[in-house]
C-alpha cells in the first residue's frame, strides 16, 4: 500500500515538473521581450538580448511617447476596430442564431444550411480579395479592418443557436407572444438577458480575433494612417528586413539616414501590443475555455 502511494506521488511530481517546465517555456519569451525593451540600447547591441537587463533604461518608452502621434494612433485604431467589430459581431450573430433556434420557423434548416455550408467551403483568398477590392472598394478604408472575415462566423452562429435551443424554454417565448410581444421585444427583453454567457463567449472570440488581426491590414491597407497596432508592427518588421537585406548587398548602405526604431523600441511596441491581452486574459480564460469546449465538441 505504501509503495503504491509512493509511485502515485512520484507520478504526480513528474507531471508537475514537466508542466512547470512547459509553463516557463511559454512565459520566458515574453520576459525576454520585456527585458529587451528596458535594456540600454548600446548594451543590447553589444551583448544581445538578456533575460536580466544589466543596464536599465526606459528610453524606449520615452521614444514611444515622443512618437505617440503614429504609434498611439495605431493603438487607437486597434481599440476602435476591436470595440466596433466585437459589438457588431455579437449583435449580428445572436440575431441570426435566434430564428434558427425556433422550432416553429419552417425554413430554419434552409438558413442553417446556408451558414453551415460556409464552414465547409469557401471561394479562396484570391476571390475574396478581388470581390472586396473591385466590387466593394474597401481598400484603404476603415471598413477593410472591420468587414472581411470576422463579422460573423459559422461556428459562433451555431453555438448561439444551440444555446437558445437548449436553455431557453419554449414556454417563456410562448407566454411573451401571447402577451403580444413582438419578435424584437422578445429578443431584447428575454433572449439577450438570458443568453449572457454565450454572448460573452462570442464577444471574447471576436474581440481577440479583431485585436490580433493583421491579415486584413496586410491585404487591404497601405495607407499608414489606417494601420492598426499589429499592422504597424508588421510593416516595421518588413522595412527593417528589407533594409538589412539591402545593406548586405551594398556594403555600408546608409542605414543611419532612415528613421528606424531600434531593436529595443521594436520590442517595446510589441510589448504594448500584447499588454491588453496579457491584462485581460487571466480574467477571461475561464469563459474562453468553456467556449472552446462547447464549440469544439459540436460545431
Amino acid at each position: 500500500m505504501n509503495k503504491k502511494f509512493n509511485s502515485e506521488t512520484r507520478f504526480r511530481c513528474i507531471c508537475l515538473a514537466i508542466l512547470l517546465l512547459f509553463t516557463a517555456i511559454c512565459i520566458a519569451p515574453f520576459l525576454l521581450m520585456f527585458s529587451a525593451s528596458v535594456t540600454e540600447e548600446q548594451a543590447l547591441i553589444r551583448d544581445g538580448y538578456k533575460f536580466w537587463p544589466e543596464t536599465l533604461s526606459f528610453d524606449t518608452y520615452r521614444y514611444l511617447w515622443a512618437k505617440r502621434e503614429t504609434i498611439f494612433r495605431a493603438y487607437m485604431i486597434s481599440v476602435f476596430v476591436t470595440l466596433v467589430g466585437t459589438v457588431t459581431n455579437v449583435i449580428i450573430t445572436s440575431l441570426f442564431g435566434y430564428p434558427l433556434s425556433r422550432k416553429d420557423f419552417k425554413y430554419r434548416n434552409v438558413f442553417a444550411f446556408l451558414i453551415f455550408f460556409t464552414m465547409l467551403f469557401n471561394g479562396g483568398m484570391t476571390a475574396s480579395y478581388i470581390i472586396w477590392t473591385r466590387t466593394f472598394h474597401i481598400k484603404n478604408t476603415i471598413w477593410a479592418l472591420l468587414l472581411p472575415n470576422y463579422l460573423m462566423g459559422g461556428m459562433n452562429v451555431l453555438m448561439v443557436r444551440n444555446y437558445y435551443t437548449a436553455s431557453i424554454p419554449d414556454s417563456i417565448l410562448e407566454a411573451a407572444r401571447v402577451d403580444g410581444a413582438s419578435e424584437m421585444t422578445i429578443y431584447t427583453k428575454i433572449l439577450v438577458p438570458l443568453s449572457k454567457p454565450v454572448m460573452i463567449t462570442i464577444a471574447l472570440f471576436a474581440g481577440i480575433a479583431y485585436w490580433n488581426d493583421w491579415t486584413n491590414g496586410l491585404y487591404y491597407i497601405s495607407d499608414s494612417k489606417l494601420y492598426s497596432i499589429n499592422v504597424y508592427l508588421n510593416n516595421l518588421m518588413n522595412n527593417i528586413q528589407l533594409l538589412t537585406q539591402q545593406s548586405t548587398l551594398t556594403e555600408g548602405a546608409n542605414l543611419a539616414g532612415m528613421d528606424l526604431p531600434s531593436v529595443g523600441v521594436r520590442m517595446a511596441i510589441a510589448m504594448i501590443a500584447v499588454l491588453p491581452v496579457m491584462i485581460i486574459f487571466p480574467f477571461i480564460q475561464g469563459q474562453l475555455v468553456k467556449g472552446v469546449v462547447i464549440g469544439g465538441v459540436k460545431g
Binding site: I92, I131, P282
Partner: protein
C-alpha cells in the same frame, strides 16, 4: 373545444417576416463575405482582364492550373503544406493529450490555476508578436546566437534547413496548451470510480492512462483527428509568412499554399496563378472535409458534423 382549436390555429400562424428581418444583416454579410467569393472561383478558369471585368473576361479552361503545376513552386508548396500538417496533427495530438493527462493529474493543486492560463497564453497573442519573439531569439544579435552560442552566430533567417524544426517548435509552443483544453474537458467527464477500482486492482498510473483514459476518450480523439485531416490543405498563414519574416531564401521549407496565394497575388500581381492555387486548396479541402465526415459518421454517428 372550439376555442382551443382556434387558439392553436392562432399561435401556429407565426409570421416569418420579423424573423427573416432579424436575420437580414447576417444574410447580407454571408452573401458578400462568403457566397460572392464562391462565384469568384470562376476567376481561376479565366484569363482575367480587369478592363473587361470578371464576367466578361474570356474562359481559358484549365490553363491556369496547367501553368501552376508546371512550376516548381506547386510541388514545394503542396509538399510543405502536407508534411507540416502531418507533423502538426500527430505531434499535436500526442502533445495535447500528454498535457491534458498531466493537467488532470495536478488539477487539485492550487498551482494548476496558474499553469492552465500560462500554457494557453501563447495562443492568444497575434502571430506578429510571435514573430518578434522568435526574432529576439534567432536574430543576428538574438538570444541564441549571443548567449547560447556565444557569438559564434548562425544566420537563421538565411538557412532554410533549420526552418522545419523552428516552425514546428513555434507551432507547438503556441498551440499545444490550448489544444489540450478539449481533452482536459473530456477526461474530466470520466467516472472517477473507474480509477478507484483500477487502483484497488493494483494498476499503475501509466496503466490507468492507457487502459482507462485513452480508450474512453477515443471517440473525441478520432473526431479531432478527422477534423484536422479535413483541413490538411490549409496552413497557418501567419506562422509560415511572419515567423520566417517573409524571407525569400527560405521558400524551400516555408512556402505553403496560403503563402503562395498571398505572394502571387500581392507581390507578383499574378492573379491567375494565385487564384488557381487558392481554388485548388478550397476544392480539395472541401472534398477532404466531406470524406472525413463520412468516416466520422461510420465511426461515431453522434460526433459527425452532418
Amino acid at each position: 373545444m372550439a376555442g382551443a382549436v382556434k387558439k392553436k390555429k392562432k399561435t401556429k400562424r407565426v409570421s416569418y417576416v420579423p424573423l427573416i428581418l432579424m436575420m437580414l444583416p447576417g444574410l447580407v454579410y454571408l452573401a458578400v463575405n462568403n457566397y460572392l467569393p464562391m462565384f469568384g472561383i470562376t476567376i481561376a478558369f479565366k484569363n482575367l482582364d480587369f478592363q473587361k471585368g470578371i464576367l466578361a473576361s474570356e474562359w481559358c479552361g484549365l490553363q491556369n492550373f496547367e501553368y501552376l503545376f508546371k512550376t516548381k513552386d506547386a510541388f514545394i508548396m503542396i509538399r510543405n503544406t502536407l508534411c507540416y500538417n502531418l507533423v502538426f496533427i500527430f505531434g499535436g495530438l500526442v502533445a495535447s493529450l500528454a498535457i491534458a493527462v498531466m493537467m488532470t493529474e495536478i488539477s487539485k493543486m492550487k498551482i494548476a490555476r496558474f499553469i492552465q492560463p500560462a500554457i494557453c497564453f501563447p495562443n492568444m497573442v497575434s502571430i506578429i508578436i510571435v514573430a518578434y519573439l522568435v526574432y529576439a531569439f534567432l536574430g543576428s544579435d538574438g538570444f541564441v546566437n549571443n548567449t547560447i552560442l556565444g557569438g559564434e552566430g548562425i544566420s537563421w533567417y538565411r538557412e532554410s534547413k533549420y526552418w522545419p524544426f523552428i516552425l514546428t517548435i513555434v507551432h507547438f509552443w503556441k498551440g499545444a496548451g490550448y489544444g489540450a483544453i478539449i481533452y482536459i474537458a473530456s477526461i474530466s467527464g470520466i467516472d472517477k470510480g473507474l480509477y478507484e477500482a483500477a487502483k484497488l486492482d493494483g494498476a499503475s498510473k501509466m496503466q490507468q492512462v492507457f487502459k482507462i483514459t485513452l480508450p474512453i476518450i477515443k471517440p473525441m480523439i478520432i473526431l479531432m483527428l478527422l477534423m484536422s485531416i479535413g483541413r490538411i490543405f490549409n496552413s497557418d498563414f501567419g506562422l509560415f509568412l511572419q515567423v520566417p519574416m517573409n524571407s525569400g531564401v527560405l521558400y524551400e521549407t516555408t512556402q505553403t499554399i496560403d503563402t503562395y496565394v498571398y505572394r502571387a497575388l500581392m507581390e507578383r500581381n499574378d492573379v491567375s496563378m494565385s487564384s488557381a492555387a487558392s481554388v485548388f486548396q478550397a476544392v480539395l479541402g472541401f472534398m477532404l472535409v466531406m470524406a472525413s465526415n463520412l468516416v466520422v459518421r461510420k465511426v461515431d454517428a453522434d460526433s459527425a458534423l452532418f
